[in-house]
Every structure is written in structure tokens, then in C-alpha cells.
């Protein structure tokens, strides 16, 4: 029996729910030679700020059990390069959903960047990152408090007609109150989770592995936490959720969807296996067959 992998996200049809997560797939272009990008349901691009950024000092990467810490610190070429160069170039070779991941240091910068992205026809969805733990003063602070998350959402919604997903931080006491605040402020969807603030120490050198001491921890290790938050938010909000965090195989995609995710992002796993996404997508039909699932759309949030 033919399996229907497609899902509908804010009126957009994704051929399948699998999307490389922001920051773990560059601007898509870097991987165009290594795989057929067009098998991907969507692509979330590297987080972009108004100005180009070098990011944090290196080392930016630390290995962990079943995951890694990154402290890239939003290295990016700036919003103009995104809208005039990167996104259009990707659109020329990729027919799926293109998600611009937008960061900022102030509510105004978020709005400015989103307005620019709104004007770029190559971009389908805006994913507003209020959760980057790697940048001082920007990012995560907005995502740790319902009022500021709502303020960013409102400002951004005012400047765009494209669907806006707010990407939330797991480093919070009450994820539901923040997601609800975003929904009430007009968000079209929620992406979660971003990375957890983590740290490793090199016991030979007696210093942190990461130059910036701490960084964002993700990978299969965080899956149970991400799944819990996806479940909580999907059940507390009416808007769709893109589930993210530790997804590494087809089974994880189904688990996230059963918890309530409409689409599923794959992050760290791309770093250790650049063809993780096509492999996961390729494994879905047989797994669905084994579990008696004909259409993925059916299982979204099936766990009460």
C-alpha cells in the first residue's frame, strides 16, 4: 500500500514532515552536491541577524554522550545576504518549504529582519528564534519570559503575511505559558525545542572545552525532554508545532508526531550524518507499514 507522508502546515503542503533544523544544514546550498535536496519536506536555514556576524570564538563544538554542545553564536552573513542571495539561490534548486530562521537583539531588529524576509518570495515560513543560548543579550532572553516572547511575536506579525513560527527555548520553568503567550500574540505555530544550555570541561586541560564556556546542548540525549515539551505545547495550543530535539531516526519522527508535532526537525544528527534526513525519510514508509499507518497526517497528536 502506498504511504502518504505529506502533512499540511499552515496551509502549506509538505511532501513529508522531515526538515533539517536551523543551523545544522547551512543554507541548504552547502549540501546540494551530497544529496537530492528535493526529498526534504522543508529546510530551515541558518539563523540570521540584521548584520553579518562572525559568531563566537572557537572551539565552538564539544562532544557529549549522545549529543554535542555548539557555541556557533549565530555566525551568519546578515539578513540582506539571506534575502538577496541565499534564499533565492536555494529556491532555484529546491521546491519544498523554505524556512527563514530569524534572530535579533531587540524587538525592532526582529521586526526589521522579518519585514525583509517577508519581501523575499523564496521564503515560505518565518521561524523566529527567541531561544539562542549562544548570544548575549540577544536570543534566549526573549524566549524565557511570556511577555517578551509575545512582544516579539506581535512586532513580527505586524510586518509579515507569511506564517510565523516562534522557536522556543527549553531552558524555562513553564514552556506552556510562553507558547500560549505567543499563540495569543498571533503566532501561526511554535517550533521547539532549541538547545539546552550545557557545559563540558576538559579534565586534562582543566578548562571548559568550549571557548565561551557554555553552549547549546542537543542531540538524541535531549529527545525525552523535547518530546515532553512538544506534547505539552501541542495539547495546550491550537496552532501547529514543529517538533525538534534529538530526532535521529524514523521512529523518533513518529513519536514526535504522535506527541503532537505536525512537522519534525532534525538538528545535531545532520552533523554526524549529513544524509540523516534522506535516510529517515526513506525509512518512514516501511516503518509505517509495520505499525499500520497509512497517512502521517492521521497520527498527529494521536496520544491524548
Amino acid at each position: 500500500m502506498v504511504k502518504d507522508l505529506s502533512v499540511s502546515l499552515c496551509g502549506l503542503r509538505l511532501r513529508n514532515p522531515v526538515i533539517p533544523a536551523s543551523g545544522t544544514f547551512g543554507f541548504g546550498l552547502e549540501l546540494a552536491d551530497s544529496m537530492d535536496l528535493n526529498v526534504l519536506g522543508g529546510i530551515s536555514l541558518k539563523g540570521t541577524t540584521r548584520e553579518a556576524r562572525f559568531g563566537n570564538p572557537t572551539p565552538r563544538i564539544a562532544e557529549c554522550t549522545a549529543g554535542l554542545i555548539n557555541s556557533v553564536g549565530l555566525q551568519n552573513p546578515g539578513i540582506e545576504a539571506l534575502v538577496s542571495d541565499k534564499a533565492p539561490a536555494l529556491r532555484r534548486i529546491y521546491g519544498g518549504v523554505i524556512i527563514a530562521n530569524i534572530s535579533g537583539y531587540s524587538v525592532e531588529e526582529y521586526a526589521f529582519n522579518c519585514a525583509r524576509a517577508d519581501a523575499c518570495p523564496a521564503i515560505d515560513i518565518l521561524e523566529v528564534n527567541v531561544s539562542c543560548p549562544n548570544v548575549h543579550g540577544g536570543g534566549m532572553a526573549f524566549g524565557t519570559d511570556p511577555q517578551s516572547a509575545a512582544a516579539v511575536t506581535k512586532a513580527v506579525k505586524a510586518v509579515t503575511r507569511k506564517p510565523v513560527f516562534i522557536k522556543l527555548s527549553p531552558n524555562v520553568t513553564d514552556i506552556v505559558s510562553i507558547a500560549r503567550a505567543c499563540e495569543d500574540a498571533g503566532a501561526d505555530g511554535i517550533t521547539l525545542i532549541n538547545t539546552l544550555l550545557g557545559m563540558r570541561i576538559d579534565i586534562k586541560k582543566r578548562k571548559p572545552v568550549i571557548a565561551n564556556k557554555m553552549g547549546g546542548f542537543s542531540g538524541p540525549a535531549v529527545f525525552p525532554l523535547a518530546l515532553r515539551m512538544v506534547y505539552q505545547v501541542a495539547h495546550a495550543c491550537r496552532i501547529p508545532v514543529m517538533g525538534c530535539g534529538g530526532v535521529a531516526r524514523a521512529e523518533d519522527v513518529l513519536e514526535m508526531m504522535m506527541a503532537g508535532a505536525t512537522a519534525v526537525q532534525v538538528g545535531a544528527e545532520n552533523l554526524r550524518n549529513p544524509t540523516a534526513c534522506p535516510e529517515i525519510i526513506g525509512a518512514l514508509p516501511a516503518l509505517m507499514e509495520r505499525l499500520g499507518i497509512d497517512s502521517l497526517q492521521e497520527i498527529i497528536g494521536i496520544v491524548a
Partner: protein, 245 residues
Amino acid sequence: MEKRIFTIESNEPVARDTFRLVLRTDAPVAICSGQFVDIAVPGYYLRRPISVSDVLPDGVILYYKVVGEGTLVMSGMVPGDTLELLLPLGAGFHPEKCVSDALLVGGGLGAAPLFLLAKELLAAGKKVTAVLGFKRADEICLAEEYRALGVPVHIATLDGSAGTKGFVTDAIATAQPVFDRFYTCGPLLMMKAVCTTLDAPGEASMEERMGCGAGFCYGCTLQTQSGPRRVCADGPVFDKEEILW
């Protein structure tokens, strides 16, 4: 870039904590000097980047030093075991930019990627001299292999247990090799000394902790003369002028 399974043909210690790993696969391998492979070590989340020291029609030869857990696990693997590699990765050396005489300056296992470069240079009819620095005599590796190619090798050891006592720069000063271009790989401070003292054009192979190893995570960025560059994809080899020491 692709993912491929290789089988271990041999995995032998050749110097203090240093192993020579011969890997075979079932199809031709195309990889150039200065490029590297990224090895999935069973049980560890990230891959380990290792430079290619020689290419076989259907395989690669790597040299690695046991410095941590992943390389320790690798050192315990035996012929017949398999490893999954990502390759080819990175932008390598430019042998074609050498006019006639090349100087290769290696520190420790920096000697490994320069070996494949030596073969490429010789194949293109260039003359090659190698200066290899090690901490002590028992860490010396690859010197005989260079000599077998007909490449004159000058050794420096920090403790004087072999060759010139001191740094590669001391050995270069003693040997006075003729060269129009140099290539270096080794510890950062060594490469800095080499790049800032030799006044021919030169290239250096940089190292950085990596996430993806393939240019899309921005984990390995180096600030250079011409802006941020990814060590894994824009490098690891950079012109000496690019590097902000």
C-alpha cells in the same frame, strides 16, 4: 562528499602513541593531499577528522595519534573491522603552485598529509625537501617513507635525541634548503614560526574542533584576512597570508 564503509587492512603502531591505519573499500577513492576523512568511531557521537597520508586505488592510509577516547578506541581495532568514513573533505594543498622546488615542514603527525603532497609534487616533476620536527626520537614517523621517495629529510627533535636539537626552524636554518614555495602542517605555534620566518609563498594546514566536517554547521570557523572561513570546507589548507596569527 560521501559516506563509505572501509575495512581495516592493518592498524599498527609505528611510533610512540602513533598508529598507521590502512583502509580498503570496494570502489576507487579520489582524494588529494591536505584533504581529510571524518571517521565514525563506534560509541562516540561526533566523527574524528584525520588527514589522508596516502591514497591507494581502493583505499587510504592514515596516521593517527592516540590523544583521547576516540583514537584510543581506534587503536584497539583489528584487521577486518569496518569503519564508516565521510570523504573527501576539505580543500587541500596546491602542489601546482610550486614552480620547481618545494619545502615541506611537518611537526609531529603533520608529516602525514605532507607525504601525499610529496608524492603529488614529485609526480609533477618538482623537487621536494622535507623538514620534520618531533618532540623526541621515539615519535619519529614517516621519515623512511619520505626517503624511499627520494626526498631528503631533515629531522629536528626538541630534546636532540635525533637530528638537529630544537625546532623545525632550526633544522631549516641548518639545512638551508632551496625552495620557491613551502607547505606546512603541525602545531599552531610551529606553523606560525615557519610562516612568519620563511619568506617564500607558503600554505599551512589548520586544525579546529569540528561539528559536521563538511561546511554546513559553522562549528570550525577561522577569522582570516579575507573574513570568516570554515576550516573544514574553505580549508584546512590556507595561504600563509590569510592566517591571522
